[in-house]
Symmetry: C2
Subunit: 124 residues, 2 copies
Amino acid sequence: MPGNETRGARLRVVIAPGIGIGPGKAALLEGIRETGSIAAAGRRIGMSYKRAWLLVNALNGHFPEPVIEASKGGKDGGGARLTPTGEELLSAYRDMQARTDAAVAPILDRLDRLRKARRRSRKP
Amino acid sequence: MPGNETRGARLRVVIAPGIGIGPGKAALLEGIRETGSIAAAGRRIGMSYKRAWLLVNALNGHFPEPVIEASKGGKDGGGARLTPTGEELLSAYRDMQARTDAAVAPILDRLDRLRKARRRSRKP
């Protein structure tokens, strides 16, 4: 686990067997929405263009409407945008992440206290 | 993502930078509690003995009291048990997982309906 992770919950949800979304896909969708490009969105999160494309294709295959619409060509691999289905998926994930953060916060506090607790004396 | 995953949330929490617990460590702790053996707990979840030991050592190093106490030797790698700190960590994780499941359930339902929705007609 990289040391630069910040405290909190990381959520992955399985919508149906083989169909899921976690922090990586959510960040990719968010990046596509903000940059209008699969390549640029992938670069922002250190993901290869090939892997970003594979994730986009997998997502698109799992919903009756595409999640991302991409136009081919151009030096940056063409433009891309979230469809209404993609917007709904991303917004649902962000909503679930926020609910999870709120639900686990008090327990994370307790675990952090456990971690910082003074070592008990070994003497009787 | 393997196709045998069931619907629901998979939670990983970062307690502090570099210190986290997710489904794998939780299953390992649960296995140790139930089998009394790090090797047997690892086998149950398809984890090598070496990796199981590394995870146990990492966990033990992150809390002032050990999370798992192991006795060396024996053909099965010695016995192991959760300490009170380990019990608290596992119980806190299970509690967070349950709260997360409850928090995300209605949204997962919505996403599953989105996935099953009839493809909209392309005609005007």
